[in-house]
């Protein structure tokens, strides 16, 4: 869905003071000794964010830092407990239909009907996004060819495709719906180095060829450094810093020839790997 001229002047994403907590029903819990109750978890804590149109903005954080919760709120799949979020000026809570016409999402888990083929899955997506008639097959073939997927995969069940191929189909599917804002939630996690590089090149091409805005959630520091125009560092549901990768390195790496990883360690007080180890424990 193409954005209107009036929408070009507005921020792609404007988030103000968003909070989200899981594990509470918003009512007084009855005491049930036989029932194990989990502690409420604050996934997002007063997060504010501004994303300009036509840029790749990275949300950088460890597992469990609140990245996916933020993406789900912007995708109208979660409602925040507090704060407001706008996509091209539309409120994600009050105007979800308008928001949905402008967005698409590529998540870490490829959301496909596994027995259906890429073509059948993409036809379904096209139907949901207002197309699917004549010429769709041609557009799907062109899209997949551009991503380097052999055309003989088009009619095979998705489950027979490799994880990298599935992720490419997910990206091709998002292209098909021409979103103004593409929400990418760890699109390269679990991919082999070659597939990872190909997907990263695709992300670059989205901005270059389509002038779309990309919000890229990742815990891959190198990926954030090479792909993103701006990076927002998030930890335990709070925004710690934001700026261009160069700005963040300069301000937080602690040395002149530092990296984004140095800046991240300085900001959060730990390495990404440590957070992942903690989570596994």
């Amino acid at each position: 869905m193409a954005i209107r001229a009036s929408e070009l002047n507005t921020a792609a994403v404007e988030v103000d003071g968003i909070s989200k907590q899981f594990g509470q029903e918003g009512r007084i819990q009855r005491v049930r000794p036989w029932r194990k109750t989990s502690k409420p978890k604050l996934a997002l804590d007063q997060v504010s964010l501004h994303v300009d149109s036509g840029r790749i903005t990275g949300i950088l954080g460890a597992n469990g830092s609140g990245k996916s919760t933020l993406i789900r709120i912007l995708a109208t799949l979660l409602t925040p407990d507090a704060g407001t979020a706008f996509v091209f000026g539309y409120d994600v809570v009050k105007q979800p239909a308008a928001v949905r016409r402008h967005i698409n999402r590529v998540s870490v888990e490829a959301s496909f009907f596994k027995e259906m083929s890429p073509w059948e899955n993409m036809l379904y997506a096209a139907r949901l996004y207002g197309s699917g008639g004549e010429g769709t097959r041609g557009r799907v073939e062109a899209s997949l060819e551009r991503l380097g997927l052999p055309l003989d995969t088009l009619d095979k069940p998705m489950k027979q495709l490799s994880r990298g191929q599935q992720q490419k189909v997910a990206i091709a599917r998002s292209f098909l719906t021409t979103p103004s804002l593409l929400l990418m939630d760890e699109p390269t996690t679990g991919l082999d180095p070659r597939s990872k590089r190909e997907v990263q090149e695709l992300v670059r091409s989205i901005r270059r060829d389509r002038a779309a805005t990309v919000l890229l959630c990742t815990h891959d520091l190198q990926e954030a450094e090479v792909l993103c125009d701006r990076v927002v560092v998030i930890d335990q549901g709070r925004v710690l810093a934001e700026g261009t990768p160069a700005e963040l390195i300069r301000a937080h790496a602690g040395r002149d020839e530092g990296s984004l990883e140095d800046a991240f360690m300085q900001l959060t007080g730990k390495r990404l790997e440590e957070d992942e180890e903690e989570k596994e424990e």
Binding site: M1, F22, E25, G26, T69, R72, A75, T76, L77, L78, T79, A97, R100, R101, I103, R105, S107, E109, A110, S111, F112, F113, K114, E115, M116, E120, L123, Y124, A125, A126, R127, L128, Y129, G130, S131, G132, G133, P157
Partner: protein
């Protein structure tokens, strides 16, 4: 503007039917197993009726045929009704299992389109499967349908569609409310409908509370009306009370179920229950 919006929604509506067609085709082996299971279930009811004479319970041949027809109509209709109910009720469970639930829920379409698309696909598929089983029954049993008033039976059948879809949509809310237990609860609802709706017996034999529940079940009027039309030639005028009740139930159940689904969706988004794992 309205025309564009309607076209958009119609396109998505077709998309759901198309998707279900593709899924049925891709899962053809499972579908064949279910069809066989349904066929065997209905046949066993038919042969149960045939065997009544050997038990000395039915001596008159006319009565035996009537009993057999009574049971087979019930079994065939239940196969159809339960299948449509199952397909609609499990629409959410299925998407959660496939991992596509978030993708479908963030699509720029009305939830009504989503639900009606699923309902339409279920109805088409349910009718196709019931027709195959019906043909098998005609081939295997000597059914006396000389009294049947097909127009009245069809009218009741069509009128029953609305409340049936309403019940299905209501039940599809359960997995939205509880990702872990919703599926089992939907099975329980299906079982209760089988018990109270007079599938194999008139609801008058039920104890008072269940009898009352049976009166409130739209399936009771469907089964009773279609049986009356096929076995006793109930006229179209005579079927009007049943048709009226079914339409009234449908007019109440469908909007109410769609509204409740909307509330359940809001709750699921507040609590973060739309994720695959819940």
């Amino acid at each position: 503007m309205i025309g564009n919006s309607l076209r958009w929604e119609m396109n998505a509506f077709v998309g759901f039917i198309e998707r279900q067609k593709n899924l049925y085709r891709r899962y053809w082996a499972w579908e064949a197993v279910w069809l066989l299971y349904n066929l065997v279930s209905v046949l066993s009811i038919g042969y149960l009726a045939s065997g009544l004479s050997t038990l000395g319970l039915e001596t008159s041949r006319v009565n035996l045929q009537q009993t057999q027809l009574y049971l087979l109509v019930g079994a065939l209709l239940w196969t159809y009704l339960s299948m449509v109910f199952f397909e609609v009720a499990f629409a959410i469970t299925w998407e959660r299992w496939e991992g596509t639930i978030e993708y479908t829920f963030m699509a720029p379409i009305r939830r009504l389109t989503h639900l009606l698309g699923m309902c339409a696909a279920s109805l088409i598929y349910g009718i196709a499967r019931a027709a195959i089983i019906g043909l098998a029954l005609v081939a295997l049993f000597r059914l006396d349908l000389s009294q049947a008033n097909w127009a009245a039976a069809l009218a009741i059948f069509v009128a029953a569609t609305l409340p049936l879809l309403g019940l299905g949509i209501f039940t599809s809310i359960l997995p939205l409310l509880s990702p872990e237990k919703g599926e089992q609860m939907a099975f329980a609802v299906q079982g209760v409908l089988l018990l109270i709706s007079g599938v194999y017996y008139p609801i008058t034999v039920l104890p008072a509370p269940l009898h009352l529940a049976g009166i409130l079940s739209p399936l009771t009027y469907t089964l009773d009306g279609v049986r009356q039309a096929l076995l006793h030639g109930l006229s179209l005028a005579g079927a009007l009370p049943d048709i009226g009740i079914l339409l009234l139930m449908g007019v109440i159940l469908v909007p109410a179920s769609v509204w409740c689904f909307g509330r359940a969706e809001v709750r699921a988004k507040r609590l973060g229950l739309l994720k695959r794992s819940g």
